[in-house]
Amino acid sequence: MIYVVIGFLWISLLIYLLMGGADFGAGILELFTSKTNKSHIRKISYQAIGPIWEANHMWLIIAVVILFVGFPVVYTTVSVYLHIPLVIMLMGIIARGTAFSFRNYDAVKDRMQWVYNRIYVYSSFITPLFLGVIAGSAVSRKVDTVAGSFLSAYVYDWFNWFSFSVGFFTVALCGFLAAIFLIGEVKDDESKRRYKRKAVQMNAAMLIWAGMIFGSSLADGIPLLKWLLGNIISLLTIISAAIALVFLWIAILKDQVISMRFLAGFMVTMLLIAVTYSHYPNILLLKNGTELSLLHHKAPDKTIDSLGIALLIGSLFILPALFYLIYSFGKKDQQEAV
């Protein structure tokens, strides 16, 4: 049953990265675009993301609940030592969730819209940035559980180049996913060109920040190359991700919406396998040389069993409903376009 629970944790993270990522990305694109395009992105992202907006963010809650019920030591260690980036991320979540709904449901559309939009785009940037920072810090061996000073216990854990490089990479990835998604949502050539240009920019940013991640890992003595190339699974998945990216660009040039989305999803899945498999079953690498492991730092068996069953039963309800939601709004959109 522990593997069921770990599987659900991993899948929630993946879906959050893909679906949540794409909708963070919509906000990021809105931030990095000209004034005239802003309202276009706003409209299209409301239509495309609106119905599944709340559901996208449930995946984070599922992941957190799995952590605190099934892996309480991991959850509390992260909560204590990465307190500050977590609070910043939470502020982002509050600001983003409320601004999105305020701007769509304010009965009067006046200058307040400008305020909601500002809040929405900046929090769309900050939230994935700090999600990435937290993920980077978890494996950077900087989390210092025996530190003597405030700074080394609660600040330097995450305030470093490696963590922020992972953070900015995450932001660029979200923007990239959103651009790919939106290419398929628009009908006219000019809009398509616009989002293709965005995809190029975000892809370039991803490569730059990937370079920064490698650079900072070398400087900090983080054996990133060994993780990614030192075992066959990670090696294969990295290669697959690279190949998928090539095909993805072919699909973008040929304007094949389905393959584009599939390949983008495949690429992210491969990347996530590569980075998680190289540490598995460890999830938190600490400065003192020890690790927190999903297999050793888990809750008692009875808890894991009931958690696994709850998740299995839950997915029987959630997945069909969610698929039907996505399917019916996707289908209806096409009909309307025709």
Binding site: G50, E54, I62, V73, L325
Partner: protein
Amino acid sequence: MDNFIAARSQMALSLGFHIIFSCIGMVMPFFMAVAHFMWLRTGNENYKNVTKAWSKGVAIFFATGAVSGTVLSFELGLLWPEFMKNAGPIFGMPFSLEGTAFFIEAIALGFFLYGWTRFNRWFHWFTGVVVGVSGIISGILVVAANSWMNSPAGFDYINGKYTNIDPIKAMFNTGWFSQSLHMTIAAFAATGFAVAGIHALMIIRKQNVGFHTVAFRITAIFAVVAAILQPLSGDISAKFVAKNQPAKLAAMEAHFKTEHYSPLIIGGIPDVENHKVNYAIELPGMLSLMVNDKFDSEVVGLDKIPLKDQPPVAVTHYAFQLMVALGMAMLGISLLYLIALFKWKQWLSQTWFLKIFVLATPLGFLAVEAGWTVTEVGRQPWIIQGVMRTADAVTPMPGIVYSFYLFTAVYFSLAIAVTFLLSRQIKMVPEIYDHQPLTLKAS
């Protein structure tokens, strides 16, 4: 402000904020479902407009409740890591089920809000009902987790270790039923009175009378039924507290001396140093009767409880008195409403009658906040009753006070923003939903 007090204040603030939004998110879908049903059945446009107007409000409240709930799931660890390290695996079961319920709620809300023209009318109506039902289930599960802190179960605590963990037993702890029942009814009463009050005000102001009358009648009946049932559930809750948390009961009642024929103390100012309550009304034997169904039974007072295990008496007592007083006020208004409904129908549209409902707008939510103060402050100094002290659970990170200031500022701004948005919704009713009342206004 020291770290511990800052952490407690931040938690209280976050829960106090979240509880309002979750109550509204839980109950409004039922109001909508009734209005929506009436529209589908009668074709009366007022019902449709009311449903649509409410659904906008629900979207705003749901989004705010969802983010404040997400924040809480992190705050448990950010503020109380020692507690979560040990308690997570024990009382986590309802949270893992709640994840599903909340997810379904979010999906159903997507269908409901965006599906007005896209689905079969009755399927669309049904998705609205699903929003409400899964909301109620979420609420019950979360309260069941909280009641575990009051009546811990499903584990053995031996030499500082938590063993023999049984998450199912923990979920069905002795308090889950009484506490969830009390909270669910409270949510209906609070939301009902709040929404009814706003619509009553608009009727008095003669704005869109048809629209607001429909809205007022639907919400008032929910509020009235809930307020009449609540004292009964309160009695169940009080008996539970007396049995499981005598210190909490003693603090609620400011009951200092263990005795037979214990009096029920109403109001008053507790004098903790001299173990007495000044200026209170005492009903001899009534506390014994309420708790044990016998006048002569003994009720444990604070004198039997070591000082270090006592909750803050004054706060708990005042909060409890306030909650009961507000509950009684709502009960009285509800009985009046029933009289109007069955005997003097004309009252329902008379200004004096509507004014009472306007005045009652905040009563339910004040009672909810007071009730949560009773249950949370009354449990102190324990975070897990009798097992772990709150002070031992707090994060080692210093400077929580700054985090408290930050959260205060954020929640305060959000409260202002939501109020602002709501007032704009109401202001826009004539333009968006209801054009006819202009003539009504003239007449």
